[in-house]
Amino acid sequence: MLGKKVDRPNPDSVDTVIGKATFLQGTLTSQGSVRIDGRLEGEIIADGDVFIGQEARVVAKVRARHVVVAGELKGDVEATGKLEIASTGVLTGNVKVSQLVVEEGGVLEGSSSFRRQQEGKEGPDRAS
């Protein structure tokens, strides 16, 4: 089952991890999902999801399906699906999403706008 997923890019599976000890500069483009635990500066474009780990520090423009932010992200986010900001997450930038979830303690600094094509149920627009 490990070998099978090589055949076709599956947006659900994480096939790229930027580890804690890694710094990447530039544009990261993936047909699958991406997890970032280290540092990244530039742009992330993924067909799948983007996970920003707790200790990650990312300065980038993110465009993906779903985005989860548990670390620090500076940059605009454009998600066709849902944007989640975990309790440890800090997002600084403008977001354009279908759904928005900010957990208790999560920070969203910036403006948010919603795409209405999917049945977007808006969460509270928080700006602190």
Partner: protein, 382 residues
């Protein structure tokens, strides 16, 4: 889940757990040999599982066998019970046979008419396998041998030698037939399974279950039952012989042919006419003309008419080769072929034929041979 092989240490493998949410990732670095061991362990587990599976299926088979054995045990138990029943039946039958043997023994022992050697033969285990009916019933066959000993065999111990055997005969007449009848009744009752079984049979019932553990109980029982059957058959044969013998005894004279004085015995004598030595085949009983002549036992008239020398004569056949002749009668009261009862008047005393006065000439024949009738008449108290 992601497997990442690190270049610097190719002998190791990192396993990383990547949560699809904010939580931190987990990494485990494992040496490659761990997977070999894991693989080996997995194989071992699979082998163990297979082994357990086989053991389980074996156990299932054993369980099936166990339940089958249980059923078998139940069946065998019921079989054993039926065998125990058969054992009980066997004991019952044995007891019955024993009781019958006792009865027959008593019959034989009390029988005054059996010669001693026949009695001994019969009593010796009551095994009449090699014994012919002649031993038990000596009357017709031995009488046919035309020897006087035939009479001895039949007659009382006294026989012709001692003309007055008073004790045994009346005793037999009183107790013999009655006892034999009672014995026969007890026999048939016992054979029919009615509760004539003696008390000794009862304790056997308690011992029956103890023998239910024997594996060859069935065949043993069968053979025992068979032998019991044989013994019963044997005894039944003895009984039949005894009955027939008693029947034969009843064919002997049961009463005096007429009331009269004995004037001439059986055997050689001087002829009253020629004074020459002649054989007298019967006894002469003198009685007045017209005295009734009676049949000495139940029988059939086989001859009724005039005979040269004997005058008006009646011959009766009583069965068992026994016949009686009555001669010199003045009148005949029966017809040939007629059935007569013991004591029935068949003629009147007269003086017909070669006779020197009114008297009855009485002959007793065993299988066509004349024997001395006097021992049979004297015991009747005539």
């Amino acid at each position: 889940m992601k497997k990442v092989a690190r270049a610097p240490k190719p002998r190791h493998v990192t396993i990383m757990l990547i949560p699809h949410f904010g939580q931190r990732t987990y990494q485990i670095k494992l040496p490659l040999c761990f997977f070999r061991r894991l693989f080996a362990g997995a194989i071992l587990c699979v082998a163990l599982l297979v082994g357990f599976g086989q053991a389980y299926s074996l156990m299932r088979g054993n369980m099936d066998e166990l339940s089958r054995l249980r059923r078998e045990t139940v069946a065998q138990r019921s079989q054993l019970e039926s065998l125990a029943e058969r054992a009980a039946e066997l004991r019952e039958r044995e007891a019955r046979v024993a009781a019958l043997e006792q009865e027959v023994r008593a019959l034989i022992e009390s029988d005054q008419f059996l010669p001693a050697h026949v009695k001994a033969n019969l009593l010796r285990g009551l095994q009449p396998g090699d014994r012919s009916r002649a031993d038990v019933l000596p009357i017709p066959e031995q009488a046919g041998a035309s020897e006087p000993s035939a009479v001895v065999a039949l007659g009382p111990q006294g026989g012709p030698a001692s003309p007055g055997p008073p004790v045994p005969d009346p005793a037999w007449r009183r107790t013999g037939p009655l006892a034999s009848r009672a014995g026969a009744r007890a026999w048939s009752a016992a054979a029919a399974g009615s509760p004539v079984i003696p008390a000794e049979a009862e304790p056997g019932e308690g011992e029956v279950p103890s023998c239910s553990g024997e594996p060859e109980l069935g065949p043993a029982l069968d053979s025992a039952l068979g032998s019991g059957e044989v013994a019963a058959d044997r005894l039944a044969a003895v009984r039949a012989a005894l009955e027939e013998r008693q029947d034969a005894l009843l064919s002997l004279p049961q009463c005096m042919p007429t009331s009269g004085r004995l004037t001439s015995r059986f055997g050689y004598r001087r002829s009253p006419f020629s004074r020459a030595r002649e054989f007298h085949a019967g006894v002469d009983l003198a009685a007045p003309r017209g005295t009734p002549v009676r049949a000495v036992a139940d029988g059939v008239v086989v001859f009724c008419g005039r005979k040269p020398g004997l005058g008006n004569t009646v011959i009766l056949e009583h069965g068992h080769g026994i016949s009686t002749l009555y001669g010199h009668n003045s009148r005949l009261m029966v017809r040939a072929g007629q059935r007569v009862k013991m004591g029935q008047v068949i003629a009147l005393v007269g003086d017909t034929g070669r006779s020197t006065g009114d008297h009855l000439h009485f002959e007793l024949h065993f299988a066509g041979h004349e024997v001395d009738p006097w021992p049979y008449l004297v015991r009747l108290g005539g």
